[in-house]
């Protein structure tokens, strides 16, 4: 099962899944990722599921994802007459199919990941993110989009691959910035993907002990940063900054030790992607730009819809942006969810991020290095996704959503087997090491006197009555 998950992740990172249509006629979009999801389910059925042992798994993230899917279905069922009357049912149907694919992927990733595999999947994420970053940098320099071209060459017998939207020298009357898209259809999507991979690389850099590994992971971070800035999108700065802030909260002391790398990264970005650093200056007057003004004008313009259908919106997936005279392109996914699935839909969408963060927090503070770093990386990726959702219509691009669900699954796997509720007294008794992060603490545990409570995990010194209480709650 983990291999199947790794294969899908590779597909998401390296193949422009929303531009590849398999040559099969279906009532829904015949995009290649839908086939991959079906293959996951078939593999699950063929092998009788994942029978490897696993500990107690927190269900919050998966339940939140399920609730989000259910609310989306419900919003459409409630609004079926309107959606049919306006001729938007076909679109909703396709969007629901994609939503189901998201739901199945979330379930599969959560079920297939084990705590012992988190390190391997972290490395895989870093490797795939780095390959993607190299492709984006090459695309910016040459205009050659390797993801589209290689996919077309390989998949041409079974699928049609659309043209790449890449434009390194666009008509200034039509586009104000180059279109650097990587394996996606928009620069914002690839920027978010790289931002999701960045915490995995940064934490690998922090945890690396040999000089060679440090150099390799540092190079990966620099490449991802350069690629994110290459798209010349403000999101390429905002989301990585948010990710770094989250890491600073948890492992600030270790991260701050790396501050000289900022200058190295700046030089590296300037060399590999000349002019990309200029994106930072575009943040000057962030709230006064045309795109920011467009965002704020959305608030008033959507009020008639919000007031008319506040709870469940006008039906998930029925926001047809092709109808320019009817719907606006909302540069904020929360507004999009508010329109389509109402306040309940927004709450359900946001609850996924909150659930993932809540699940990951105890694991991120765990002294077990195999859990702490992936949990923290997943947590930072989820927060980055939540912030990116406020900056553009992120659900229009499937890749960041798949990676977000993967990050949620990483959070869940990292928390699998951790005790659910740890008595406060026991936690305060645990000595707080005054040096190193969780990873280093686990690598070099402090010697304990004989007979003292075992300080291995948060489950120390739990009285028998509380253990029974925990079991009953479970």
């Amino acid at each position: 099962m983990p291999w199947a998950l790794a294969a899908v992740l590779t597909l998401v990172w390296l193949v422009p899944i929303d531009a590849v249509s398999v040559k099969v006629s279906l009532p829904v979009d015949s995009k290649i990722d839908r086939f991959a999801i079906v293959a996951l389910v078939l593999a699950w059925m063929l092998f009788g599921g994942d029978r490897r042992p696993r500990g107690r798994r927190p269900a919050a993230f998966l339940v939140a994802a399920g609730v989000w899917v259910a609310v989306a279905f419900l919003s459409l069922v409630v609004n079926v007459p309107r959606v049919i009357r306006l001729g938007e049912f076909e679109l909703s149907q396709k969007q629901l199919a994609l939503l189901v694919a998201f739901g199945v992927f979330a379930w599969f990733a959560t079920a297939a990941l084990r705590p012992s595999e988190l390190r391997a999947f972290s490395v895989l994420t870093v490797v795939l993110g780095t390959i993607c970053a190299i492709g984006v940098i090459v695309e910016r320099k040459t205009g050659y989009n390797a993801f589209y071209e290689i996919s077309r060459a390989i998949l041409s017998p079974i699928a049609n691959v659309g043209p790449s939207p890449t434009m390194i020298n666009p008509d200034p009357l039509r586009f104000d910035r180059p279109q650097i898209v990587g394996p996606t259809e928009h620069g914002l999507a690839v920027t978010t993907m790289l931002s999701i991979a960045m915490p995995f690389a940064l934490l690998a850099l922090l945890d690396a002990r040999s000089r060679g590994r440090k150099f390799a992971y540092g190079l990966c971070v620099a490449l991802m940063l350069a690629a994110a800035l290459s798209t010349e999108r403000k999101t390429g700065i905002v989301v990585p900054v948010v990710v770094v802030v989250v890491l600073l909260i948890y492992r600030g002391r270790e991260l701050l030790r790396l501050w000289p790398l900022v200058f190295v990264f700046a030089v590296f970005v300037h060399v590999t992607s000349p002019g990309a650093l200029g994106t930072i200056t575009s943040l000057n007057g962030f709230l006064n730009t045309d795109s920011s003004a467009g965002r704020t004008s959305d608030y008033a313009a959507i009020m008639p819809d919000v007031v008319t259908r506040p709870l469940l919106g006008f039906g998930y997936g029925s926001l047809d942006v092709a109808k320019a005279n009817t719907y606006r392109i909302l540069d904020n996914e929360y507004l999009g969810q508010l329109l389509q699935a109402g306040l309940i839909g927004v709450a359900a969408f946001l609850a996924m991020s909150i659930a993932a963060v809540a699940v990951a927090r105890p694991a991120a503070r765990s002294p077990d290095a195999a859990r702490a770093s992936p949990a923290l990386a997943g947590l930072a990726a989820v927060v980055g996704f939540a912030v990116a959702s406020a900056l553009f219509d992120i659900l229009s691009f499937p890749q960041p959503v798949y990676l977000f669900l993967f990050a949620g699954a990483v959070c869940t796997a990292a928390a699998t087997g951790l005790p659910g509720r740890e008595p406060a007294r026991a936690r305060t008794r645990a000595p707080a090491p005054d040096h190193g992060g969780p990873a280093r603490r686990a690598l070099a545990p402090e010697p304990q006197p004989r007979g003292a409570p075992v300080v291995v995990g948060p489950a120390l010194a739990v009285p028998p009555a509380s253990r029974r209480w925990d079991r009953r709650l479970g």
Partner: protein, 208 residues
């Protein structure tokens, strides 16, 4: 250019009333929109709050008309939508005849000379067909999926609830399922370690 003006005229309440009369449809159930400036930048095409308010109010209407015109040709294209093909045909014909009637009435009122009058002519008969056949089946599938998912979730929740209930009952029968004790141990209860210690102390005092 003039076609655009007449298209806008067709969305007025008075014109819709005439269209309803011609099509034998309640004008209160008809919603008309257009023409749209499709050659404008997207930002200019997107609806403002007031425009969107009109659209939202009209979403409930089952009889819908959309008018399109170009700057270069004196032609208005009419798209109609109704619950049945026959009604859609009647609505499209009614729109063309309604516009002709409306313009004729206006010219009569203002006594426009015959040579300067505008003549509205219908260039062809509308051809209606069903565009969402099979939608009933798809809705049935959608509702089935939702109900099935809700049923599965319900079964899981109830099964878990029953299992936990039985487990709790079994633990209570075995004397293990009490709520965690939070009261301070009593001095007189020798089962508690504190009680045992004080009993031992009293025993020690007696012996000494």
């Amino acid at each position: 250019m003039r076609a655009g003006v007449y298209s806008r005229l067709l969305t007025s309440p008075e014109a819709i009333r005439l269209i309803g009369q011609e099509a034998r449809i309640d004008p209160g159930l008809i919603y008309a929109e257009g023409p749209f400036e499709s050659n404008q930048p997207r930002a200019a095409q997107e609806p403002t709050a007031s425009e969107r308010s009109d659209q939202v109010a009209g979403e409930q209407d089952a009889y819908r008309l959309q008018f399109q015109s170009t700057d270069t040709l004196p032609i208005i294209t009419i798209f109609s939508q109704a619950p049945t093909p026959d009604e859609a045909n009647r609505l499209a014909n009614g729109a063309a005849q309604g516009l002709a009637t409306y313009v004729r009435q206006l010219q009569d009122q203002r006594q426009v000379p015959a040579a300067q009058r505008v003549e509205i002519r219908q260039l062809g008969q509308p051809a209606a067909r069903t565009v969402n056949s099979g939608v009933g089946l798809r809705i049935a599938v959608l509702v089935f999926v939702l109900v099935f998912a809700a049923w599965c979730a319900g079964v899981l929740i109830v099964t878990r609830l029953v299992h936990n209930w039985k487990t709790a009952g079994r633990l209570a029968d075995q004397g293990e399922g009490e709520w965690p004790v939070t009261t301070a141990p009593s001095e007189s209860d020798p089962r508690h370690s504190g009680g045992e210690r004080s009993a031992d102390r009293r025993e020690l005092e007696r012996t000494t």
